[in-house]
Symmetry: C2
Subunit: 331 residues, 2 copies
């Protein structure tokens, strides 16, 4: 009779808990090859969800944090948010005639990547500052939403939101089905991710943590708005990630997923807590299906975290070896 | 057969959705007298949860924010966090012999409330700074947890966590049963509330938003810690509340609950969004069962919000008239 009841639970509510017994028969991570990486994930999840087990973690503490660029979606040849900023320069150029003569804006308008690169990180910050502030939060939301639904990747011509990693989508779903709350904890701008994170990753806006500009509450034409100011409020990268996690979540995660040295402190903070922990790095090793880069890359450099992974017990995913497919459209 | 199935859903998962039909027969707000306040709440919730209705709001956007001091628990004769700070002064006095001669610390140690009051807000900030920083976040958590489980209110001799408002506990539960995500958005310190908010209010740590000190990621004896610095990172009060909401939640609430002018902007931001909105103020009118105060109070002053409530369509709860009981121990 219980079986009939359970069936009804599944039919009526489609709930994960009721369907657990049936779901265990199917592989929750079908795009992952059977490897030490996959085993490390499944072993960890099994341990912390085993009621009565030594490593059991109650649902409320099942917090998993994911970096975004290079961990959940592609970050080459430039961060998606940089591509967005460049497109904003083009869109705003008519209001800024001076940009035609002024680097790094001139470089962006002329498609002169060398000139843009020569301006370095400082130039990039100038571009971000000029294109990301002065709007209300609602205006900025609309701009991002319009852009992300149409802009395409320079080499694949795919929508950026198609260039998410299928194995990581499965991992997000798997963890949530096991009672985890999944958060994005990215160096990217929180307001750049929130408009599409729920649709693409199933991560609601309030579970997206990122770098942010200061905002100010004020009135425009009698209506309250939040105005984006040209001042960084939190740089959610490196040692800023545990700070962002503390501010937004207030619990230490038990699992953290990253791909670069910017994720080092997030993995360190996560895995130095008591009890079973999972730290995982996505190593970009697939020059054919994606990109191959680590130590020398100007984007997503991975050096210290890769060197220390073995002694720290962190799992390193070899993208080429461990993933059957990279993107959902390859399924 | 569907009925049998629904029954099984209830028996096995105790889910709100499956039991909805049965639950509608019982009053979800039994400690509220039948009044315009209660009607405003129930009408709003009914409207936004009515599928196909003009005011329907999908579950993901059902965000409700609650002030804490004076809205969820008593704030007289002083904010609970101030009582905590005073107790910390006493606990730390042996490490600070200079405090015996130095106001406002001397006043706290001597129980000289006049001297403490004479030091004003500046003196209070000095006390908070001296007692709330320099610890790691984990040390501070332990201090708060130990204090809140033993400290008692000066006049009722109750634990502070017993002095929460029964009608508001019912409101939190009612909203959650209707698919709302409930957040605390308080001027108080986020790290002072998180250790007990889940146990007392059913609000998980990641849904507590408050004022916060800057924290710094560093290493102590080889282990990473987050150190609390003597610098305010966010003052989550007044116009700071919509900022805190934006940072932590990233959605505009559809319902907001407060009791003082420090909640004005939160209610304004909430109720100026499109569609059905609920703004509600708890008016402290019960000198017998709780306290009666508004315009002239040095704590939780309520003036502008009270004056503008009628034109803004905000509901004002008359505590004396609308609430059958104040605290859970009066049930």
């Amino acid at each position: 009779m219980l079986k009939v009841g359970t069936l009804w639970v599944c039919l009526i509510t489609a709930c994960a808990a009721g369907c657990g017994a049936a779901a265990q028969d199917t592989d929750p991570l079908p795009s992952w090859n059977d490897s030490t990486s996959k085993k490390a994930i499944v072993d960890f999840v099994t341990k912390v969800t085993q009621e009565g087990g030594a490593d059991f973690v109650p649902v409320s503490d099942r917090i998993a944090t994911f970096d975004n660029d290079g961990t959940l979606w592609a970050e080459q040849p430039v961060y998606v948010q940089v591509a967005f900023a460049f497109d904003r320069v083009k869109a705003l150029a008519s209001q800024h005639p001076e940009w035609k003569q002024q680097q790094p804006f001139k470089g962006v308008l002329d498609g002169d990547t060398k000139a843009v690169a020569a301006a370095g990180e400082r130039g990039l910050l100038e571009i971000i500052a000029a294109t990301h502030v002065g709007n209300t939060t609602e205006e900025f939301e609309t701009i991002v939403r319009d852009w992300i639904t149409t802009a395409r990747h320079p080499t694949t011509q795919r929508l950026y939101t198609e260039m998410v990693y299928q194995p990581m989508l499965e991992l997000l779903t798997y963890l949530r089905a096991k009672g985890f709350k999944t958060f994005i904890v990215s160096g990217g701008g929180v307001e750049f991710m929130r408009p599409w994170a729920e649709r693409v990753y199933g991560v609601p806006r309030e579970q997206v943590v990122g770098s942010r500009a200061k905002v100010k509450y004020e009135h425009r034409e009698g209506r309250p708005v939040l105005l984006r100011l040209p001042e960084v409020d939190l740089l959610n990268d490196g040692a800023g990630k545990p700070v962002g996690i503390h501010q937004a979540i207030g619990r230490r995660p038990i699992a953290a997923f990253g791909n670069s040295d910017g994720d080092f402190e997030m993995l360190e903070w996560t895995t130095s807590g008591r009890g079973a922990r999972l730290g995982l790095l996505v190593h970009h090793t697939d020059a054919t299906r994606e990109w191959a880069y680590d130590r020398a890359s100007h984007i997503g450099a991975l050096m210290r975290a890769l060197d220390e992974a073995p002694t720290r017990g962190w799992t390193v995913v070899d993208m080429q070896r461990d993933w059957k497919v990279i993107y959902p459209f390859q399924k």
